[in-house]
Structures are given as C-alpha cells and as structure tokens.
C-alpha cells in the first residue's frame, strides 16, 4: 500500500494520491466521506425535484399536470430517496466518517476496508432504487418483448406507489398496476446493510481507537451523538431488514406473514417497520444535535452548558426511541397498546428539552459572532423547538387520532427532518468546510442563501400545520370540495411558493460551497474559527494520516473563555 510513512510537506489527503482509481479504492475515511457527500447531494436534488413536482401539482385544486397514479409515484419517490438515500447516510456517513477519527485523534476508523465496502453497498442499493424507479412500459427505446420480460419476470415496471413505508396491504398487492416493490424493498434492505456496517465501524472506532488521554468524559458531543446514532444504526436496522425481506418472500413465494388472505396480520408489518423507522428518525437527527453542540460553543466562546447532561440526554433519546414506535400507528392498534405507547412517547420530550435548554444556556451571555454556521445552528434550535412541541401534540393519543394522516404530521415531520437533520447537515458543511477542503467560502453569499433557506422553509411548512388542523389529509391528489376549501387553496399555494424559495436556497448554498471548493482562492488556516477541538489542531485539509504525531489529550474539549484562550 502507498501509505507513506514519511509525510511530504505540502501534501494532504486530497492530493497525496492522484486519479479516479485512487479515489475508488481509497481506504481513507476522509475521502470516503467526500464520496458519500457527492452521492447524497445528487440524491438530495433528485428527491427535492420530486417534492417540487408534488408541490406544483398541489398549487391549485384539481388535476394540474399529473395523473393520480403519477402523483402517488412522485411522493413515494420523494420519501424513499430522501429517507433511505439521503438523510440516513447523511450526517453519519458524511460528517461522522470525516470527523469521528479526527475528533478522537485516530488515524482512521477501526475497519477501513469495511468502510469502503459500506460505501459500495450503499451504491448498489442506490442503483437498485434508481432501477426500480424506471417507468419501463413508457420508455420509448425498449422493445415490447424485452419490456414484457422486465415487467413480468424481473419484477420491474414503474416507480413504487406505496409511500415510503411500504405498508403491508399496498406493498403486497399484485393485481392492477405493476410496480417494482421487490426492487425497492430490496434496495432498502441493501442500504440498511450499508448503514449497519457503518454503525458497527463507528462503535468499534470509539471504543478502541481513542488517542491517549481522550477519556469518555473528554469526548466532543458530536462523538457522543455519533456513537448513540451508531448503536441505533446497528441494532434497529436488522429489524426493518427482516420485515422487508419478508415482504419480498411474500411477493415471490406467496408465504403468508403479512397478507391477511394468507393468515397474516398487516399490523405486524407496521410494528416491525416502525420498530426500525422510529429509531431511524434519531439516526437522522441525533448527529445534527451533535453538530449544533459543536458549533454553538465555538461561536459563543463559552463552554458547552451541562456537558454531562447533553451526553446523557443523547443516550436517553436513543434508548427511549426504541420503546415508542407504535405511536405511528395509534389509529390501527388496540386501545391498551395505544395508551401504553402514548404514555411512553411523552418521555422522549424530557431529554430533548434538556438538550434545547443546554443549547440556549450555552449561548446565554456568550460573545456571539454570527457566522453562517452559527446562523444555521441557531435556526436549528428555533426550528427544532417547533418540531418538538408539535411532537407533543402527536404523542397525545386523543389529539393524534384527529391529526393522524393530515398535513399536521407532514409539517411536524419536515420540521424535525428538514429543520433538524438537513439544516444540521448544511451547518456542518459550512462549519467544517475549511477543514474538509482547505478553502474558505464567501460569507455574504452564504448568508443570503441562509435567509432563502430559512424563509422558504417556514413559508413551506408553517402553512401545513394550519392545513392539517383544518382537516387536509396527507397524500391527497386533489382537495376540491373539501371543507374550508378557500383557506386550503391559499395555504397550499403559499406552501408551494415557499417550497420553490426553499429549493433555490439549498441549491445556491451547495453550489456556493462547490464553487469555492473547486475555484476558491483563499486558503483556509488550520483553525479559522479558533476552536479547541482536536480536528482543528491538524492542518487544513488534514494529511493522509490525520495527525503528524499521535496527539495526547490533556484537557476537556470545551474550555472556551477559560485559561486556554489567550
């Protein structure tokens, strides 16, 4: 291998080896992180376009330019691509891969080959998902007999229209329209495998590769968050793996597990699915908590408030997240179970509130500078508070029965996922951009894109809370003739306009970063934001081995405003 023992001056992980092949076979966690970043960004725009198609259709009542079937396809594409291809690998695989070894002072993750393998497994899963989205029967360049073979033998034939949850009666239906459920669930299974291997790698890395002196009490909160995420990734994903595998078995062999006509219980599918898919929202949002926990102290020049509580709350959320899954199914499960799960769900609010309190207290009386990452982090705290409090509404059994399957749920979900996970990812990309690329970006442009994202996001999803409260059901193709029609019309139109602004904001933000990555002239110093954590103590971008010498940690990461700062 070409791991140079002697470090050549002026080289870094980006230029130490040249050529596509050196990237494709790299075992360097930093390069793998960048490969993930480019892949998930592609799928982010792909899923975003599907969302814009859905929003455009809903701009006015009545059919605009889609058929109801195509509408179902598009919201399913949006959900599947965003959840399985973008957010789940989002912060853990991109930021976790890049930062985890750097933050604990290791040279790499514990199993570099496994890390590369997870990336390729992710690519295989992504390819399966993309193949399953092809509308085979309407492709002009495929002849009739080949198209028949693809549809009837290979199980392809058009995007899935089950929604991203693949709920049992929909995903098992064989009659009528063809759709590539087998391929899509297979893709989700493969992507889950990639997620498991990444999580496993991170857990072992944190246990075995911490630098001398990097005790558990000195770990940055991002490492704690990534570790908690990794536990969920490793232990929750197999359950969805088996439930998707059973759906495939059921479609291929006709065994009766979930199909009521074959003696199955479709609600069991929902149980197994949500046993993964509720913890999975913490896979998405916990690393974002970690990111915010890193950004706020740096730009407030204050130690993080209640470090132990922050780390404990991270684990509290991860653990409680395992016992609340059935609150997604309040209207389909029995009464006893609904009471129990409603009761348990309230407990998630406690550690979450602890975290919000700690973030706000970290900023309190700090000397805050409003750089772009800080703006995103503060937006995160604000948006996540709305997301959390509306979550309480949905945890309450009586209220949820009313709000179930309305736009209120859609809005709540997007406030947590987009206002939480995506804003967290964008904040992280801005904050660690100098470290990852060795360049600086233009602050003014970044701030403009921030305003677009923030305004666009709220314009899209605040009206959706009202839509839900006024009784607009989710996943409806048309809302002509519903109660409060005029109000619904106005709110839908507002939401669509907001979606366009939001999309423009994200597009400009990422193009801005990409432009300065490729063409940027300003070289970044090793530590432009004057952070104390370990990844900033090596050069920007880091050398292939991360640190010229193994660092020895003697202090806590968050000593801002204390003796260490001159």
């Amino acid at each position: 291998m070409a791991h140079s023992e002697t470090h050549v001056e002026g080289t870094n992980y980006l230029n130490c080896q040249k050529g596509i092949w050196s990237w494709m076979t790299t075992l360097d966690h930093k390069r793998i992180s960048l490969m993930y970043l480019f892949t998930i960004s592609f799928f982010f725009f792909f899923g975003g376009l599907a969302a814009l198609v859905v929003r455009t259709e809903l701009f006015a009542a009545g059919a605009q330019f889609l058929t109801p079937k195509q509408y179902n396809n598009f919201f399913t594409i949006h959900g599947v691509v965003m959840v399985f291809l973008f957010i789940v690998p989002g912060i853990p695989a991109v930021m976790g891969n890049f930062l985890l070894p750097l933050m604990i002072g290791a040279k790499d993750v514990a199993f570099p080959r496994l890390n590369l393998l997870s990336y390729y497994i992710y690519l295989i899963g992504a390819a399966m998902a993309v193949i399953s989205l092809m509308p085979i029967e309407s492709l002009p360049f495929i002849n009739q007999s080949f198209s028949d073979w693809l549809v009837h033998t290979a199980g392809l034939g058009g995007p899935v229209d089950t929604g991203w949850t693949f709920y049992a009666p929909y995903s098992l239906a064989k009659s009528g329209t063809h759709s590539a459920v087998i391929w899509m669930t297979g893709a989700a299974f493969v992507l889950g495998f990639s997620s498991i291997l990444t999580g496993l790698n991170f857990i072992v890395t944190v246990h075995k590769l911490r630098a001398p002196g990097m005790t558990w009490g000195r770990l940055p909160v991002f490492v704690w968050a990534t570790y908690a995420t990794a536990i969920i990734q490793t232990l929750a994903t197999p359950v969805v793996g088996i439930s998707l595998l059973l759906v495939i078995m059921e479609r291929v062999f006709g065994v009766g597990i979930f199909d009521p006509t074959l003696g199955g219980d479709p609600i069991l599918y929902s149980h197994l699915f949500w046993f993964y898919s509720h913890p999975v929202v913490y896979i998405m949002v916990l690393p974002a908590f970690g990111v915010v926990g890193e950004i706020l102290p740096v730009f407030s020049r204050k130690p993080i408030f209640g470090y132990k509580m922050v780390c404990g709350a991270t684990f509290g959320i991860a653990l409680i997240g395992f016992v609340v899954w059935a609150h997604h199914m309040f209207v389909s499960i029995g009464d006893t179970a609904a009471y129990v799960f409603s009761f348990l769900t309230f407990f998630v609010a406690v550690p979450t509130a602890v975290k919000v309190f700690n973030w706000v207290s970290t900023m309190y009386k700090g000397s805050i500078s409003f750089n772009t990452p800080m703006l995103y982090a503060m937006a995160f705290v604000f948006l996540f508070m709305i997301a959390g409090t509306t979550g309480i509404y949905l945890a309450t059994l009586a209220v949820d029965v009313f709000y179930h399957d309305t736009y209120f749920v859609v809005a709540h979900f997007h406030y947590t996922m987009q206002g939480g996970a995506v804003i967290g990812l964008i904040a992280a990309l801005h904050f660690w951009f100098p470290k990852m690329t060795g360049k600086m970006y233009n602050e003014t442009v970044s701030k403009i894109t921030f305003v677009l994202v923030f305004v666009g996001f709220n314009l899209t999803f605040l009206p959706q809370f009202v839509l839900g409260m006024k009784g607009m059901p989710r996943r409806y193709f048309d809302y002509t003739g519903l109660e409060n029609f005029d109000l619904l019309q106005t709110l839908h139109a507002t939401s669509t306009i907001g979606a366009y602004i939001n999309a423009l904001g994200y597009f400009l933000a990422l193009v801005n970063l990409l432009y300065f990555f490729v063409f940027g002239k300003t070289k970044a110093p090793a530590n432009p934001f004057n952070s104390l954590s370990l990844e900033w103590q090596t050069q920007s971008p880091p050398i292939h081995e991360n640190f010229a010498e193994t660092p020895i940690v003697t202090e806590w990461t968050y000593g801002y405003g204390t003796k260490k700062e001159a």
Partner: protein, 294 residues
C-alpha cells in the same frame, strides 16, 4: 495490510495494520464481530416475534401443523450442529496454541457437519414439496441443486483467488468445474434419492396427510399457510447463514493451509468460529420451537 511482495511467503505474525497495534486490532475485530452477531440476533428476532404472535393467534393449527415436521431429522441436525460448534471451538483452541494442522482438521470436521446439516435439510424440504406443503409451485428441484452447486463452486474459487494462494488456484478452479459438470450430469439421479429417518427408526410418527392438505385446497387454511410460511423463512434464512458460515470457515481453512496462525495471530479463526456458534445458537432455539412444541 501485508506487503504484496511477501504475501505469498509463509508468515505467522499478525498482518500489519497502519493505524493500530496488533492486540488492539484483535480486540477491535472481535468487538466488531460481536456487534454483527447482535444484528443477526435482531434479524432473526423479527421472525421469532412473528412466530410467537401467530403461535398465539393460531394456537391449535400450529400444533397440528408442527406434527408434519419430523423431529428426528431436527434432532439429528441439532446433534450435528452442536458437534460442529464443538470442533469450531477446538479449532480456535488449536490456533491459540499455534497448531495449524489441528486447526485444519477441526475446521474440516466443522465444514463436513455443516454440509451434512444442509443435506438433511434438503431431504426435509424435498419431502415437504412432495407432500404439497410448500406454498409455491416448485418445479425441477434438480435445477435448484445445479444452481446451488454453481454458486458454491464460484464462491470457493473466488475465495481462493482472493487469498492470493498461487499453489491452490488451479486445483480449486479445476475442482469447481468438475463439481459443476458432475452435478449437471448427475442432477436427475441425485434428485431421485430418498432419505427418511422414519425408515431407519420406525418409532414415533410423522404423518404427511397428503390427500387432505393440498396447499391451496380448502382444508389448508390461512393458519397452516402462516405456519409453513414461517417455517420456510426461518429455516431458509438459517440455512443461508449455514452456507455463509461455511464460506467463512473455508477461507479460514485456506489460511491455515498457509500456516498463518500462531499464538500471536488467530483473529480469522476466532471470528469464523464466533459466526458459526451463532448459527448453532439460532438452531438451538429453532429446533424445539418448530419441531417439538409447535
């Protein structure tokens, strides 16, 4: 990360990893394997949950349906798997003492037991298909056999080529071709072989009420379909793990052929054995659940 120029030489130290020392690498690999086993427990956990629920809901039907499984076949397979687990543990012990010949011997016995397990399983499935207890029309079981041997041969050749053992490359490829060709010509003959423990041990009674229970007939109601669906999913997934475990142990065997193991380095034997023990553990629960208490 061994140096390519010396990778064919016989060496018995741990491979050099650039980012951690050897004992850390050993413990990291073992923790990683335990975590992977944890995911396997939860993977099968979904199936166990489904089984528990349907056994509760369709209590009487599950009792009746489970009689169709021959517990003697299950017990035989349990014994084989426990013995193979024992030899796998002995292989680790041998590697810890640096005795590569003993590692090879124990791994071969383990592989043999795994193979016997699969053969017994094959005859069980075959009898179920014969009595119409399989939920899907399977025609040409012999083609299934042929495809299986093809994958086995490709996998084995792949493992040998992947381990860079120049001495073994040609013999393995030839043996693989011979295996595939002989299976192709003998598949019809093999498919006619019958094996039923009831002929050897005529006590107990596993009845196959062929004329009553056509799978899609009116008597064979949804509950029975549930039972057999779960039976095939659970044992099928387990059999897949047996095959994967055999693949890993075969790779360990090839390393032992190169005398790669020493008291300082035996990580692959330990990891392969851990995986194999998990296969045994799952079966320890599957056997009473499916064959004995229903």
């Amino acid at each position: 990360m061994s140096n390519p120029t010396i990778s064919n030489a016989i060496e018995s130290g741990p491979p050099h990893v650039h980012h951690m020392d050897a004992p850390t690498a050993y413990h990291a690999a073992k923790l990683g394997m335990w975590l992977f086993l944890a995911t396997e427990v939860l993977l099968f956990g979904g199936l166990f949950t489904a089984f528990a629920l349907y056994r509760y809901v369709y209590f009487a039907e599950f009792q009746t349906a489970s009689v169709n499984l021959d517990w003697r076949m299950g017990a035989l397979n349990t014994a084989f798997l426990i013995f193979s687990s024992f030899t796998a543990a002995l292989a680790v012990d041998a590697a810890q003492h640096g005795n590569n010949a003993k590692v090879r011997r124990n791994v071969l016995i383990t592989l043999f037991c795994g193979f016997v397990f699969l053969i017994v399983k094959y005859f069980e499935y075959k009898s179920k298909v014969h009595y119409g207890l399989f939920p899907y029309a399977v025609k040409g079981f012999e083609n299934f056999l042929f495809t299986g041997s093809l994958f086995l041969a490709i996998g084995a050749s792949g493992v040998v080529i992947f381990t860079h053992n120049a001495k073994l490359r040609l013999p393995t490829i030839l043996a693989s071709i011979a295996l595939v060709v002989s299976f192709y010509f003998l598949k019809h003959t093999i498919a006619t072989i019958e094996f039923d423990l009831a002929n050897l041990f005529p006590f107990g009674h596993a009845h196959h009420p062929k004329d009553v229970w056509e799978f899609n007939g009116p008597e064979f109601n949804a509950a029975y379909k549930s039972y057999f669906g779960l039976y095939y999913c659970m044992t099928g997934l387990h059999a897949l793990h047996v095959i994967l475990g055999m693949g890993i142990l075969f790779w360990v065997y090839l390393k032992a052929l190169n005398n790669r193991f020493s008291p300082n380095y035996y990580t692959p034997v330990e990891l392969g054995a851990l995986y194999w023990h998990l296969v045994d553990l799952i079966w320890i629960y599957l056997f009473p659940l499916l064959y004995l208490v229903g």
